[in-house]
Amino acid sequence: MIRRSGAAAALSAAAIAILAAACSAPGSSSGGSGGSGSGGSTGAASGPIKIAVVDAQSGSSSDLGQFEWRGVKLAVDQVNKAGGIDGRKIQLTLFDDQGDPTVGTELARKIASEGFTAMLGTAESSVTLAMAPILQAEHIPNITSGQSTKLLKLGSPYLFLNGPTGLTYDSTLAKYLVQTKGYKKFALLTNNDSYGAGEDSAFTSSLKSLGITPVAAEVVPADQTNMTPQLNTIRSRNPQVLFIGAEEAQSGLTVKQARSLGMTAVIAEGAPAGTPLFLSTAGVANADGTIVSSPYLGNGVDAASKAFAAAYTAAYGTAPELHGAKAYDGAEVMISALKACHACTGLALASAVRAVHRTGLLGTFAYDSQGVGIFSTSIGIIKNGTIEPVSS
């Protein structure tokens, strides 16, 4: 008997619940979803401007995340100290994406629901790729540190890069190595994550446009730390140049292991080779002579970078590197846009970002329709543990 009435209660309760659901859709009534529908209005004129920084603070790419956060924070601290934007301070919140795209998508929704104006980061193209559709739907402009050309294919008007694409890095590098130095035998060693795969295709196509086919193109898993088997294959082909497409630590290890196998080929690489982690992993002696393609060659190249380096060192007690500089530039672009449109939001802010024209640490930003603002890199060479611009 009791059982009967229990079931009846369950049925009627369910019926009520369904009725309730039919009357109003969940989510529409609650005030949670902040971003939806605010397609380009000028933001509320009071309170701080909320900007989200999404970067890995845990997991294998947490180093990058740390560098980025410092760069962003430095720029924002500076503008806040100078009075903010139209008297409003910028309030930064750091989110840890753990390098995981799924976590990224959840963070994108969190950012939307908590009414953030804009987002800076992430350091990884794959996480940005996952987040971009949600940010687009919620009208939140995002300046990412990713450099994959896949980002451009999304065609989101809210997505911007804070540096050049991988293709820019690699074509500059290939041109220098082939046309200036006259090398002809190239070997590639790339890892299989999105960065490595992007480098593989970008450098290969850059070489191809110069009429050169690599003598070896080896792939290693991104978490592999023993590259010797692949290096063996490369060594047997005797290349003049070994191009590496992998993150800092793995690149450093590759260089170390290549040298311990007695390989003498010139090492060439994109941005990761310019970082302290690369140097410490490879060892200073092994890294000597590595050719680097980077929009930010070092802290002493010009007045702007010297000033940045001084401020960064004062704030964090350690010298900056490329990622910090990139993130700093990205934050500066966002700040300029906010200033220009008086802290607007949504599509208006995105348009303001696109209109920014300023010279930063990496060069002069002038965004195209795809969200790329920087189209060149410089070539440097590592000598005694520091990068110097090549004298060409």
Binding site: A10, I18, A25, D96, P101, T105, L129, P221
Partner: protein, 595 residues
């Protein structure tokens, strides 16, 4: 107490349903996405619970099933332009195939070996998706479409929540349907004691594969839903770290309870989101929790209420007050006894001869006693007859049909049932379920009904319950139907084991030391039961050390010594033979009664 609880259950479910239904009204955009993720993990965890907790198969490849489902949908929709639901269907098929592949090693290895092999296969899957062009490599697949439902695109997180909720509810319902009925009972019996389950007629190999297929269905479904929810998939989501997190959910929640798995999954997902900026502390926390649960509460959170209840019961009184009923005859099975013919049986273990050309014969309606000193090969003989060992030579026939070399379940289906020297009851099955499990004479492929004809399963279940009730009544065990074997006094456990053996309506019953540990009264009851079994026409072979019982009970006795038959005949004449005296007492110089 128990009935009250049962009555409360629908109310609790209703309350839960209402909470789950109105929950989205209280959640903002972010928390609804957390809820969506939590429900997916819950679905995954239920699958893992089924394979690990219910079937006892270590599976560290559940994330791979998840991945196969997600990538199946991703690849088919983006690269081949399939519609979402067609792609989902094919992805589920792929996930089931993955389940079969991952399950294969379980046919050969178990426990930690299975752990490392399944983990290795998960790593292999991860490696494939990270490299293959078709999966988009490390940068993954984007642009997966939103699943439409009755013309409505489920792009809203809120609508999606309801889709997931319905799938999870259906998954849980199906899971409980399986667990509580024939198939699940066999899986649980296999988990508790694969050997005894095989001897009771369960096809262990098929069941193991079914367990992995079940896990892969839940994993695949979660993957399909994930792809439709996030619209983007990348290898990172299916990493080993996530596998361990999933494992932690299931262990902390309680692997043997599907609700426990759900609670663990939701709890840990929410906790992880709360601690998103303290990931290392979160990891530390759940790691310590897993260790603590495993050491102090192996059944997880779900097991805590019953542990508390048992503890309180134990404090209040010793054993339950229910009394053992009297034995009221063996229910007629309609089957006649079989002739057992053992001829020239030889069993060697790495050079040691355990059975040396043993030949014997047992007729229908006869009680044959097998006696002999320790280590004379009696239990080995039973193990060969019941199919646990494949003999090195000789043969065993049942009614003229060779059964030696067959698998235990097949021999059980031929009508052989046995008990074990050291009780082998299914420890986490109730007495009723122990009996129902052995009573279930269906083959494993019968399980297709779970998908296509559930009504048939229900009917079968009702019939089983009716018959099992009759067996328990007959053996005077009705009062203990709901008890776990280990909570019962030893003498009752012995009787349960005989009842279980008789539930399979055997034609030949092998009893291995049924009187061990029984007091005088219980031994008398045992003799009564065994005689009744003989009277019902079943052939009985029993190993017994209690010579008094053997002498009074057995029609004929076979004496084994060092693996060979040294004497056989009616009890009194066998006891008088010098060879028997020597085997038992050590020498022939023992004075006879006459001297």
């Amino acid at each position: 107490m128990n009935r009250l609880f049962a009555a409360r259950r629908p109310l609790g479910l209703a309350a839960l349903a209402i909470v789950a239904w109105v929950l989205p009204y209280r959640l903002n955009v972010y928390w609804i996405s957390v809820a969506d993720t939590a429900l997916l993990f819950a679905l995954l965890a239920v699958g893992l619970g089924l394979v690990m907790g219910i079937a006892g198969q270590v599976n560290l490849a559940q994330v791979a099933f998840f991945g196969v489902g997600a990538y199946g949908v991703g690849i088919l929709t983006t690269a081949h332009g399939f519609g979402f639901w067609l792609a989902a269907l094919l992805a589920m098929v792929a996930a089931v195939c993955a389940g079969l592949v991952v399950g294969l090693p379980a046919l050969r290895v178990q426990s930690h070996y299975l752990g490392i092999v399944t983990l290795g296969l998960a790593v292999a899957f991860l490696d494939w998706v990270t490299n293959a062009p078709v999966t988009g490599g490390d940068s993954g697949l984007s642009g997966i479409p939103t699943p439409p439902l009755f013309g409505v695109g489920l792009s809203s997180q809120y609508l999606y929540y309801y889709l997931e909720l319905i799938v999870l509810a259906a998954g849980l319902a199906f899971g409980y349907f399986v667990v509580r009925t024939s198939l699940g009972r066999r899986l649980r019996a296999m988990r508790d004691d694969a050997l005894a389950a095989g001897a009771a007629g369960a096809e262990i190999r098929v069941l193991r594969m079914i367990a992995f297929v079940l896990a892969s269905v839940y994993g695949g479904a979660a993957g399909v839903l994930y792809a439709g929810l996030i619209h983007y998939i990348a290898p990172e989501t299916f990493s080993i770290a996530d596998m361990f997190l999933l494992l932690a959910m299931v262990i902390i929640g309680g692997r043997q309870s599907l609700w426990g798995c759900v609670v663990g999954a939701i709890g840990l997902t929410v906790a992880q989101q709360e601690l998103i900026n303290l990931a290392a502390y979160a990891q530390l926390g759940y790691g310590m929790l897993v260790v603590a649960v495993v050491v102090f509460a192996p059944t997880g959170l779900a097991g805590v209420p019953s542990r508390v209840r048992r503890w309180r019961l134990r404090r209040r009184s010793g054993i339950s007050a229910a009394a053992l009923g009297s034995f009221s005859g063996v229910p007629s099975s309609g089957r006649t006894g079989a002739v057992l013919e053992v001829s020239g049986l030889v069993m060697r273990f790495r050079g040691v001869i355990a059975l040396d050309r043993v030949s014997l014969r047992a007729e229908p309606g006869e009680i044959l006693g097998i006696v002999g000193p320790n280590g004379s090969g009696k239990t080995t003989l039973f193990n060969v007859i019941s199919g646990l060992y494949r003999p090195s030579g000789g043969r065993v026939d049942l009614d003229g049909r060779v059964i030696s070399g067959s698998r235990p379940w097949r021999i059980s289906h031929h009508g052989v049932a046995r008990t074990f020297q050291h009780l082998r009851l299914f420890g986490n099955l109730t007495v009723l379920d122990n009996v129902r499990m052995a009573m279930d004479r269906t083959r494993s492929w019968w399980s297709w009904r779970y998908v296509f004809w559930p009504v048939g399963v229900w009917r079968h279940e009702r019939e089983l319950s009716r018959q099992a009730g009759a067996v328990l009544d007959a053996f005077g065990l009705a009062a203990f139907a709901g008890a776990l074997p280990h909570s019962l006094p030893y003498g009752i456990q012995r009787r349960v084991e005989i009842a279980r053996a008789m539930a399979s309506a055997p034609r030949l019953l092998l009893l291995d030391e049924p009187a061990a540990g029984l007091n005088g009264d219980e031994q008398r009851q045992l003799a009564e039961i065994v005689r009744a079994i003989r009277a019902s026409g079943v052939t009985v072979v029993l190993i017994e050390h209690n010579m008094g019982l053997v002498m009074s009970l057995c029609d004929r006795v076979v004496v084994l010594d060092s693996g060979a038959v040294i004497a056989s005949g009616v009890p009194a004449s066998v006891a008088a033979q010098p060879a028997v005296l020597e085997a038992y007492l050590g020498t022939t110089t023992l004075p006879s009664e006459a001297s």
